[in-house]
Symmetry: C2
């Protein structure tokens, strides 16, 4: 019986195993994870910490027992230490007992995910200092909130997760300060759009410090020496009983690299459209792997939960002897931050400049629904188009409830390679509960129009 | 000085006048309307009647005074009775005083809108029987609700407006019965999707009678003889103190037709992409005019507020000497009915059959956001694709809050002429407040996939 081994048990790993089972009912499938749980919705963790999701089990998509019923053996607390591609073996170690064993494979899917980038500062080991990546991380933060009732949080890093955690801590009644090294929040959006978010946060009494580095995490004077009490930055001393380090992630590719797997963008495992690595019968998927940006054509590292699921399926299908491919992404991202929504897709200005693409931008301000309609809120839409020619390059949205998911229209147009002019008259849905008569998306596209 | 005359003062007429002003600052622009107000959001009327929009003035986009500041003369209560294209004259009559006059034009935009189709039954003149088309209609219904406190409403016709008014009456605490001649509610959607809406309505204690004709509107026995009290249908006698007739609309094209303007689909004024009629210098736009369905290539009559605005702009631009065109629509529609949302775009099954297009359908059931996330609700998505080839033909959505505006992804893909396979891996936005990890739109498209 052929044996598929999957390393990793969150989005990509479980998607790969489940898909492989559907492709080949007779395949032996074993999944190894160093964690104590599999198949959880890690993107839901900020809402679990906020208390909007009550129970840990709500985050679990499929349990070990469900996998077992599908003939997928899940091995918890088993860390893959070494891959031997010549002998087709994976050496795994039990992280609780230390016992080691070798597991043979016919096909291997590496779905080892990513790890938080830790700022190189002293004090990271103090109690009250967290990262948020795994369910265990989420449980630890929630427990700390319940047991210690911290009043002041400092969030280091103002990307999506950092700002989603602003919402979580804010809803818990804490005062929140965000410290970001870059000169703006949301460094993957343009500065003008990010400024709208910063302004909003400050209006909600979230302190935002940009272009500022953290120098040290320290205990508070006169308090327990093993517990964080102060964040020292270049210009401030910020009292904090809880610190979240959310300065981005890096791919967990060391295991693969040691086995001779070639790496690509940002040190992630290089894969082709079939999720094949350079080694025969070795696939990779998810946050440890590269993908292709379909607007630029470049290999990129853009770890996202939805991409991990898609890549996992493709890796699982091919590893099981099927035929599937994943062409790439267009760089879509979305987040809610309290009552504000943000989204982006395609290329932002910095990315266009780096690629040498000449572009024009248009930004409009409108309403989510007509001004007369209950719940009407502000929305800003920015569009980037190539100059000349008008090929759509990207879009960004910042606005109130109902704003951000409109990014899908742009993501669709980018996928289909459209010029902005193709969509000027698009028949987007209008009724007062949903949109102004000219949808903000259309307004932004039409801002490129030159007409009589 | 050239003189542009616009007949009609709601969406298309005011859009035409405003656009013409932007194109030619020196143009004399006169707008005639038989109504007492201009530039109101007629699509907001159900929410005004429901009481969700408090004040009449909230529905007014631009007042007569604002138009005057832009050099657009608005003439209220002036009905155009005759167009003389040879002498380039419009004869208008003051509907209050009866005075007539002739107005010369260099260019004419006909934006006379549409009128409700009235079922040919006795009793339509009774007090308590309404249609909903104009602001005056909306004011009359609201006044009747306030003064008469009707408890039981019968809505004749289960299209968008009929069902939007279910929400309005329901929110007013009335018991509501809907009578529809067709065998389903929402006759412009497929029966299977419409059945979900009917089931929902019945669950909310709205009585729905389909495949049933109204025979007469009558006073109640022993009550005022000039006031409705009963709706007699083929199979029922329905007590009702308020009756709304919402059995569709027909274009107001008689004025144009008498002047020799050619008519097209459904008796609407035939226009080309520039909104030109067959007569020189005579344009038409909005609910009185035809458009082109870009999926079928056929001339159609699909009156929609958003199309009226777009066509009005184009008519105004061209009438003022500019250059603009409107290619057509893809048949998008959307409505909210209490907590249920519905939308459609492209062609439905009946339309495909009528056009002789071979097609396949896929329908999926999913969640608006992950099951673990607060506010998660059911969503159904149906997709139609051409067979063979997989060209996207249309889509329909029925679901809870957050469902229907997803139709815009399909409308965009239809505008760009995509096959379903082009979007299987589309990078649609995912975060728990917005979507499950596989957006329902992607699930529906992927249901067409045949893979290993």
């Amino acid at each position: 019986m052929r044996h598929l081994v999957v390393i990793g048990g969150v989005a990509a790993g479980t998607s790969a195993a489940a898909k492989a089972r559907r492709v080949d009912a007779g395949l032996k499938i074993s999944l190894f994870t160093q964690e104590g749980r599999v198949s959880y919705g890690s993107c839901g963790l900020p809402y679990f910490i906020a208390g909007q999701i009550a129970e840990e089990r709500q985050l679990i998509a499929r349990t070990v027992e469900v996998f077992a019923q599908q003939g997928i053996e899940v091995h918890l607390y088993q860390r893959a230490e070494e891959i031997d591609p010549t002998r087709r073996l994976v050496r795994v170690v039990d992280v609780r007992e230390g016992a080691q064993r070798e597991v043979g494979y016919d096909a291997l899917v590496i779905a080892t995910g990513a790890s938080p980038v830790l700022p190189p500062v002293p004090g990271r080991e103090l109690a009250g200092v967290f990262t948020l990546r795994t369910l265990d991380d989420g449980l630890a933060i929630r427990r700390y909130l319940q047991e210690q009732s911290p009043q002041r949080a400092v969030i280091v890093g103002a990307g999506y997760i950092g700002l989603e955690m602003v919402e979580a801590f804010h809803q818990r009644g804490m005062s929140v300060t965000v410290v970001e090294m870059a000169p703006q929040v949301l460094p993957n959006m343009d500065a003008d759009m990010a400024a709208l978010v910063q302004e909003y946060l400050e209006g909600r009494e979230v302190r935002v410090l940009t272009a500022e580095r953290v120098l040290a995490l320290e205990p508070a004077a006169g308090q327990a020496a093993d517990r964080v009490g102060l964040v020292r930055t270049e210009r401030h001393e910020l009292p904090a009983e809880l610190v979240l380090l959310s300065a981005g992630v890096r791919p967990n590719a060391a295991l693969a690299a040691r086995a001779g797997v070639a790496l690509g963008a940002a040190g992630a495992i290089r894969v082709n459209q079939r999720m094949e690595t350079n080694l025969p019968n070795v696939y990779a998927a998810g946050d440890c792997a590269t993908t292709v940006h379909l607007v630029s054509g470049e290999e990129v590292y853009l770890p996202m939960g939805t991409t991990a699921n898609k890549q996992g399926r493709v890796a699982g299908a091919n590893a099981a002897g099927g035929e599937a491919s994943f062409p790439g992404v267009v760089g879509t991202g979305i987040a809610r931050i309290l009552e504000m929504e943000v989204a982006r897709t395609g290329l932002c200005e910095r990315e266009c400049k780096a690629l040498g693409i000449d572009y024009r931008t248009r930004t409009i301000r409108s309403r989510t629904v007509p001004g007369y309609f209950p719940g009407s809120g502000r929305i800003h839409v920015k569009v980037l188009a190539e100059h000349p020619g008008g090929r759509l390059l990207g879009a960004q949205i910042v606005g109130r409830a109902g704003s951000a998911k409109r990014i899908d229209v742009f993501a669709t147009a980018l996928t289909l390679g459209a010029a902005v002019g193709r969509l000027w008259d698009a028949d987007l849905a209008y009724a007062p509960p949903f949109s102004p008569v000219f949808d903000p998306v259309l307004l932004a596209l039409n801002a490129f129009r030159r007409e009589a």
